[in-house]
């Protein structure tokens, strides 16, 4: 790739846009905390707070982009992702902007999951992870043995990374971690009493105020590079909860023919403009399952960069279906952006599922495991047959290397166990 000079589109002297190439020569920009450049196009990436989601998204969430989460039915898991994103911001030292219409941002911040930073915690987590892995291994792939070697899409918890952290959902973050973090909040019921200063453009007033607030913070705190004195660049992580729901004054979730179909899309367009020109990233959760008019969701998807949909099994027949019993829901990646490049890093596996273990929430490749008790019995009886065959063969005087033969027979039994072929006739020689 040619060492192109950074082309920030800043001919008007406005300052750094988030799309400036950071891959040139290293000395250019002291790395902003909590980011890393993408291998493909030098775009700065942030961790979404969930390392397995970062893998799915091709490394992380790019600075200047929008991550849209289509909420699951009761909003439980999407809320978790929202909190993970903000928690990652706290751990990396980024500034936060928390916007919500239903929960006060202070309460949201109190409930952020605690990061697993100690070695002791990491070991505990490692034990839990290996315990799960060993119980899986006993009923390892019988039919779908080809999938056994696929990566589980989960980075090992024992590797220490500065990019991407693990969080313990059962504990909340201690207030000391917040001390150096600037948190800006937007709680709609409080903001409605103030006057809107922005030119309205036939957009819902709640959205207008939110945009105004975001624009003000970006400008005042210098995230758009407008303050050249500021040496230490930082990222602004914006989190907006349940956008489009009735609490925001929008009726797209409650009516088939909403009054104003364009408010949400206009909001997203203006937000896109704000994100592109600043060092920020945004996560928005949208109750997509409530939006009757599917045309709106199509437009919303086109106006967002990364779109991930969560489908939880709560209340559906899949909750009790043994095929899905390892997981709590499915993950659908609807869109991944192509930034500064003709191609994007899209992962090969499209069947993803998530599960919430006691402490960890992970996204994994969806594997159907069939556990047949009767089949296991058959395999055990087959193993006994083979052992009997081994002992009769070993008694034969012409047998020369007993240990090797036992080894090889073990492989045969492994083969039959995982491939599910019929049992060999008892008199056959080992191969």
């Amino acid at each position: 790739m040619a060492a192109a000079p950074a082309a920030g589109g800043v001919a008007r002297g406005r300052g750094v846009t988030s799309f400036q190439r950071k891959a040139a020569a290293g000395s250019r920009l002291a790395a902003v905390a909590g980011t890393r450049p993408s291998v493909r196009h030098g775009q700065l990436l942030l961790s979404s707070g969930l390392p397995s989601l970062d893998c799915v998204l091709g490394g992380g969430v790019a600075v200047g982009t929008l991550l849209l989460i289509e909420e699951d039915k009761y909003g439980l898991y999407s809320n978790l992702l929202y909190k993970y994103f903000l928690a990652e911001g706290v751990v990396c030292g980024h500034d936060l902007f928390v916007a919500s219409a239903k929960e006060h941002p202070d309460n949201i911040l109190k409930e952020l999951p605690a990061p697993l930073l100690d070695d002791t915690h990491r070991n505990e987590l490692g034990e839990e992870a290996t315990a799960v892995k060993s119980e899986d291994f006993q009923d390892s792939m019988k039919i779908a043995w080809r999938y056994q070697n696929l990566p589980k899409m989960e980075a090992s918890p024992t590797t220490s990374t500065k990019f991407g952290h693990y969080y313990d959902v059962s504990k909340t973050m201690s207030p000391e971690l917040f001390q150096s973090i600037k948190c800006h909040s937007f709680y709609l019921p409080e903001e409605l009493s103030l006057q809107a200063k922005m030119k309205t453009c036939n957009m819902n007033s709640a959205y207008t105020r939110l945009l105004e607030s975001i624009h003000r913070i970006i400008y005042q705190e210098g995230f758009d590079g407008s303050d050249p004195q500021k040496k230490q660049k930082n990222i602004l992580r914006i989190g907006i909860q349940s956008l489009g729901s009735m609490l925001w004054g929008d009726d797209i979730c409650s009516s088939d023919t909403p009054e104003d179909v364009h408010s949400l899309t206009k909001f997203l367009y203006v937000l896109r403009g704000l994100l592109r020109k600043s060092l920020s990233a945004c996560i928005i959760t949208v109750p997509a399952h409530l939006i009757q008019n599917k045309a709106i969701m199509e437009r919303v998807t086109n106006l967002s960069d990364t779109v991930v949909g969560l489908e939880s099994f709560i209340g559906s027949e899949r909750e009790t279906n043994p095929l899905y019993k390892d997981y709590h829901g499915l993950v659908h990646v609807h869109q991944i952006p192509r930034l500064n490049s003709l191609i994007c890093d899209v992962s090969d596996t499209k069947d993803l599922a998530f599960r919430l273990k006691r402490k960890l929430f992970t996204i994994e490749v969806f594997l159907m495991r069939r556990r047949h008790v009767t089949y296991a019995k058959k395999v055990r009886s087959l193993q006994q047959l083979i052992r009997a065959a081994i002992s009769t063969i070993l008694r034969h005087p012409s047998v020369r290397k007993p240990h090797l033969e036992i080894q090889r027979l073990r492989d045969v039994s492994d083969l039959t166990r995982t491939r599910g072929v019929g049992p060999p006739p008892p008199n056959s020689r080992p191969c």
């Binding site: 790739m1 040619a2 192109a4 082309a7 920030g8 589109g9 001919a11 846009t17 799309f19 400036q20 190439r21 196009h41 922005m198 030119k199 309205t200 453009c201 036939n202 945009l211 624009h215 364009h262 899309t265 206009k266 367009y269 203006v270 896109r272 403009g273 704000l274 592109r276 020109k277 008019n293 599917k294 045309a295 199509e298 437009r299 086109n302 106006l303 192509r338 930034l339 500064n340 490049s341 003709l342 191609i343 899209v346 090969d348 499209k350």
Partner: protein
């Protein structure tokens, strides 16, 4: 000359065609007016550099007139009054109650009308992408009117070309979008329809492209010529091959 090309994508991203046409026309020495509604200038610039063209240099020469929709919208909504003296914003329809794209058309016309000092070959209008205008509140009829006016000026009067990207989906519920797309299909001279594979995601074949030459518009009782290829996008170019004959399979 005087052709209207429609880029249409379904289930996949057809923006690689936009990058191609941009660098193609710039290299050919045409004056290009690029209405980029969806991405920032630096995005197009970086991809164009991979394809061998510098957009900043083209802008400085006056060969490229770039309307960055995102920035223009922000200036419109958050900008001070003084900045807007003289020229109304091309995206004025967002803040007005009438969904009238006249300001945008005026912008296109003034940027492509040749000045005396210009020595460029024919003008080209490139739009990425038209479906965004619907999301911003423009009525479908207004969008079609805008395209019609542009065709009159750019294709008929100035003998230039127009290339427009639209999104469409098969069972789309977005009727306004389908209306615009179908109408544009009937009026285009060339349609490049990029579709994701019906069988789903494939690492080696990113999609298929249908090239429809609308020979039937010439009223010589001939059918449209349709060619279908599959493609794979790489870092700096796109390879096309006949269906089923991707390099991974051969």
């Amino acid at each position: 000359q005087g052709k209207f090309t429609l880029l249409r994508d379904t289930r996949t991203d057809g923006s690689f065609l936009v990058h191609h046409f941009l660098s193609f026309y710039l290299r050919a020495g045409c004056k290009v007016c690029f209405v980029a509604l969806l991405q920032s200038f630096s995005h197009y610039n970086i991809v164009a550099q991979k394809l061998g063209i510098s957009l900043t240099a083209a802008k400085e020469r006056g060969q490229l007139v770039f309307l960055e929709g995102l920035k223009s919208c922000l200036d419109l909504l958050f900008g001070e009054e003084e900045e807007q003296s003289g020229h109304p914003s091309p995206l004025q329809f967002i803040s007005e109650s009438t969904s009238n794209l006249k300001a945008l058309f005026d912008f296109v016309r003034t940027s492509l009308t040749p000045a005396d000092s210009d020595s460029w070959k024919g003008p080209v209008l490139l739009v990425d992408d038209l479906s965004v205008l619907l999301s911003l509140g423009a009525a479908p009829v207004a969008v079609l009117d805008f395209i019609h006016y542009c065709r009159v000026v750019v294709c008929s009067q100035l003998k230039g070309n127009i290339v427009v990207l639209v999104h469409s989906n098969e069972d789309s519920e977005d009727e306004e979008n389908e209306l615009v797309v179908n109408s544009l299909c009937h009026h285009s001279d060339l349609i490049l329809w990029v579709e994701g594979l019906a069988t789903g995601f494939c690492k080696d074949v990113h999609g298929q492209i249908k090239i429809i030459r609308r020979v039937s518009l010439e009223l010589t009782a001939e059918q449209d010529l349709v060619q279908i290829y599959q493609y794979k996008i790489q870092d700096k170019n796109v390879t096309f091959f006949a269906r089923g004959l991707s390099a991974a399979v051969l």
